[in-house]
């Protein structure tokens, strides 16, 4: 990018065919996360779950013979539908809703003990989650029939949903065991006489796809757990010798009674000459299952593998979400607790920094093209109650800034002009020309109150204090963006500052309103240019050198916050990336001793956790929110989101009260949670990417090393 343009000129990157990786990769990652959640939710019956049961209706359209016929209904083909029943002395035990990892093995053991065969009507979700059980069922010689994927009442579902349920269950079976089945039993079914105008069309539709529907003769109601004797009685045919298809369950609750009943009823019936066999065999159809190969087999295996991966990954995601939640709420708790402490301490009548500070102070005003604001700024300074000298450092402005200042002809105001070299250099120039020992730094568009400078410098009565941070307030707070930033300044920045003041590790003195001791500045080497957040860098250097940095809530300054998303983006990008740079630059403090060590071991980790790590994980929160609202349970998810919002509202309300701000701007807090928060973590994400890839941002001027120049990151 051309260096000859001023540092604020926006340079457009050339158009690319594909959006750059730094935008596509995070989007793809988040969408993949959502897909993983969906897949896992599908096989655990969390999404698309329909628990409704329909009522029975009339039977006008059902062929009457079916109502009086056997439970196995074959409506395939163009002819009349036929129903079949089990032969005499044949029991077809059927187990619905399985397989289940606790009960199915027990049932299989009992069946094996009595050399019996049975039929398992399995749900696709359980098949996916317990492939080994399916394989064992087949290895033991039993039959498998379909019982849909998510166990909905099919009469309430659309054709597409019904098709999907069957197809997905077949796919799951194919992937698990390489077979598919033509036997089907609808959820919530009973015997053939219960066919009605709603259930018969479903049976017919599925028969058109080749399914044979198997209802039952006997329902043991074992899922109600009526007692072993009741189950045994229900399973025993009333007319000895008649063949039956019996319904039991191997999943969905405690099936101990079922297992116990089996152990009683099977030997008893076998002694009466019954044989236990599969449904297909009991009606003389051989088997309903056949092998799958080719594409469907591989698609099935793929589905199984992906589903297992999704289920496997989920606990890790939950842990991360818990981490974010803990960090967010922990920060609130810490902020509130420490702010209360700070307010109590500094507002006590007996509190004092020491003898009043009355010495003259230098105020540095770095200005670059501030013709609109510089007059207001300077006038506010001349109203100051404290004696000051003002130095305006003109950083190579191309507009009328200098002319305006000259025209004002205010006493005690000097202008130093330098070629455009950046704010850090401008401040260093100002420091070099300052004649007093206390230096206040502000921005060219900040407006001070008359008491600001005085309040700002009182803490210097304590010789350990090296810098003080003032209370920056958003002036243009009536627009939506302004209101969001206003909330952020009051809650985020100022509540944060109280917390960090109590902990003795304030990471940033705001560039808009801060005061320093000259000796501390000289000790730290002035402002450095190797980070974009020179104020944070300087503050951290002061900590490392053992100076105290405190917060003065009464030193108010009014700044003009960025009014458009673009400007906000720029500002926050610089701040965020700059803060990361400064933290990395001073990372040695973690191992240092004394006050530097205290900052390194308390301040740096806190800043890292709350400003750099937690926001990076915040998208997870939004992914889960979208997943919950769209696919699982909108009201519950919404309630959870509201709870978090209420907590934040309470915190923000307290912050506003502490700062004596009127609370009505808090109305925009809900919207802030939906838009502003996402903007901030986009900024953080981009900062991370820039930091990791080593790109140079356009605001940083670096010496050319002669190697290939790094493309400027936007």
């Amino acid at each position: 990018m051309s260096r000859s343009r001023g540092r604020r000129a926006a340079s457009r990157p050339r158009r690319r065919a594909v959006p750059p990786l730094r935008f596509t990769l995070p989007t793809v990652l988040l969408l993949t996360l959502l897909a993983t959640l969906l897949l896992r939710g599908l096989v655990t019956n969390e999404v698309f779950h329909d628990a409704r049961i329909n009522v029975s209706v009339d039977k006008d359209t059902v062929p009457p013979a079916l109502l009086t016929g056997g439970p196995v209904i074959d409506a395939r083909g163009p002819g009349d539908p036929k129903s079949y029943r089990a032969e005499d002395h044949t029991m077809a035990l059927t187990f619905d809703d399985g397989p289940d990892e606790v009960w199915t093995p027990q049932i299989l053991d009992v069946l094996a003990q009595y050399h019996a065969k049975a039929t398992f009507f399995v749900t696709g979700s359980m098949v996916t989650r317990h492939p080994d059980l399916i394989r064992r069922i087949l290895a033991d010689g039993h039959e498998i029939g379909l019982h849909t994927f998510t166990h909905p009442d099919l009469t309430l579902q659309s054709d597409r949903r019904i098709t999907w349920e069957m197809a997905q269950t077949q796919l799951a079976l194919a992937g698990v065991a390489g077979v598919h089945s033509a036997l089907f039993r609808p959820p919530y079914s009973s015997d053939a006489s219960a066919l009605d105008d709603l259930t018969w069309p479903v049976v017919k539709k599925l028969a058109d796809r080749g399914y044979v529907t198997a209802f039952i003769d006997e329902d043991t109601d074992d899922w109600k757990r009526p007692g072993v004797d009741a189950i045994v009685a229900a399973a025993t045919p009333k007319q000895p010798g008649s063949g039956h298809i019996v319904l039991m369950h191997d999943a969905g609750g405690d099936r101990a009674q079922t297992v116990a009943a089996l152990k009683i009823v099977m030997p008893r019936l076998q002694s009466e000459g019954y044989r236990f066999t599969t449904v297909s065999e009991s009606v003389g159809a051989g088997t309903s299952m056949s092998k799958v190969d080719g594409f469907q087999l591989w698609e099935g295996k793929l589905f199984l593998g992906l589903a297992h991966a999704a289920v496997f990954v989920m606990p890790a995601l939950i842990v991360l979400l818990a981490v974010v939640g803990t960090l967010v709420f922990g920060r609130f708790a810490l902020m509130l607790f420490l702010s209360v402490k700070h307010a109590r301490r500094t507002r006590r009548r007996t509190f004092s920094w020491g003898p009043p500070v009355t010495e003259k102070v230098t105020v540095l005003v770095p200005a670059y093209n501030e013709q609109e604001c510089i007059a207001n700024t300077l006038h506010s300074l001349t109203d100051s109650e404290h004696p000051i000298e003002v130095i305006v450092i003109d950083d190579g402005s191309t507009d009328d800034t200098v002319a305006i200042v000259e025209g004002l002809a205010l006493p005690g105001v000097r202008v130093i002009s330098q070629p455009n070299s950046g704010k850090a250099t401008a401040l260093n120039t100002g420091i070099a020309h300052a004649t007093h020992d206390l230096i206040v730094m502000m921005d060219g568009d900040t407006v001070f109150e008359p008491s600001t400078v005085r309040e700002l410098v009182q803490p210097f009565a304590d010789p350990r204090v090296g810098a003080t941070a003032g209370n920056a307030k958003v002036g243009n707070r009536d627009s939506l963006i302004g209101a969001w930033q206003h909330i952020e300044y009051v809650m985020g920045f100022n509540l944060d500052r109280r917390m960090y003041d109590e902990l003795g590790c304030m990471p940033t003195v705001p560039g808009a309103v801060g005061a320093y001791r000259r000796v501390a500045l000289e000790q730290a080497g002035g402002m450095s240019e190797d980070t974009l957040a020179e104020d944070t860098d300087l503050t951290m250097a002061l900590h490392v050198n053992g100076w105290k940095v405190v917060y003065t809530e009464n030193a108010r300054a009014w700044t003009e916050a960025p009014g458009s998303i673009g400007q906000l983006w720029s500002q926050r990008y610089r701040w965020c990336y700059g803060t990361m740079q400064a933290m990395w630059k001073h990372r040695g403090a973690v191992l240092a001793s004394g006050p530097a060590g205290r900052f390194g071991r308390v301040g740096l980790p806190l800043v890292a956790l709350f400003m750099v790590l937690a926001p990076l994980l915040a998208p997870l929160f939004d992914v889960f929110l979208v997943y919950g609202v769209l696919f699982v349970d909108a009201p519950k998810t919404f309630t959870a989101w509201l709870t978090v919002l209420v907590v934040q509202l309470v915190c923000a309300g307290y912050a506003f009260w502490l700062d004596k701000e009127k609370p009505w701007h808090l109305i925009s807090l809900p919207l802030q949670q939906l838009v502003y928060r996402q903007l901030m973590y986009l900024v953080l994400l981009q900062s991370w990417i820039t930091a990791l890839t080593g790109g140079r941002l356009r605001w940083q001027k670096l010496k050319r090393t002669g190697e290939v120049d790094v493309p400027v990151a936007v």
Binding site: T32, P64, G210, G252, V415, Q418, V632, K636, K703, V708
Partner: protein, 192 residues
């Protein structure tokens, strides 16, 4: 402090003159000529671009892998082929009582069939028996309705086998007629 600096002072800045002046001293504008040394390096910046290129490559691989996972996952869940495999038709055997299209029942030779069970059944031949539609089951007594309270006048004599438990028969509508099986859902705790 900036290292390379020359200051040209146009006027001496801060001399307090004892002479009372009518106007306050005009603000002083100093033009400073400095030669700012561009920072030799900034934190994180890798001027050679090596780290950036390496990470970019890795990023593309990760992106393609994730996109592939998501696309495949969504395809396998599309649920396209619902067709059932071929299954042999349960076939009646010669010995079993079969309902012909005309509706005549063939006699059931098996003694077991006639009485106790109340319905004709095959003599142990493993075939089910189709009940033809439209035949007057009651008249011939061969068809055994399940779950109906009407007694079959076939040689059964035996009361209607209540093969259905707790089912009041098809005349009663509503939930009683449906065996509500519990659904197999074991939903994991919802993450929040």
């Amino acid at each position: 402090m900036p290292r390379h600096e020359e200051t040209l002072q146009l006027r001496s800045p801060w001399v307090t003159r004892p002479v009372v002046q009518e106007q306050p001293p005009a603000p002083i504008v100093e033009r400073v000529v400095i030669h700012p040394e561009a920072a030799a390096k900034a934190v994180f910046v890798d001027q050679s671009g090596r780290r950036g290129r390496a990470l970019r490559g890795f990023g593309w691989i990760a992106g393609v892998a994730c996109a592939g996972f998501a696309a495949t996952a969504l395809t396998t869940v599309a649920g396209s082929n619902a067709q059932a495999p071929a299954m042999p038709v349960p076939s009646p055997t010669a010995n079993s009582a079969v309902l012909g299209e005309s509706g005549t029942a063939s006699p059931s030779p098996s003694p077991a069939a006639a009485g106790a069970t109340g319905r004709p059944s095959a003599t142990g031949k493993p075939t089910g028996r189709p009940s033809a539609t439209g035949t007057g089951a009651a008249a011939t007594g061969t068809a055994k309705p399940t779950g109906t309270p009407k007694a079959t006048p076939s040689g059964a004599g035996a009361a209607d086998t209540t093969t259905t438990s707790a089912k009041p028969g098809q005349t009663t509508p509503a939930p009683g007629a449906r065996a509500a099986s519990p659904h197999a859902a074991t939903s994991a705790a919802k993450p929040r």
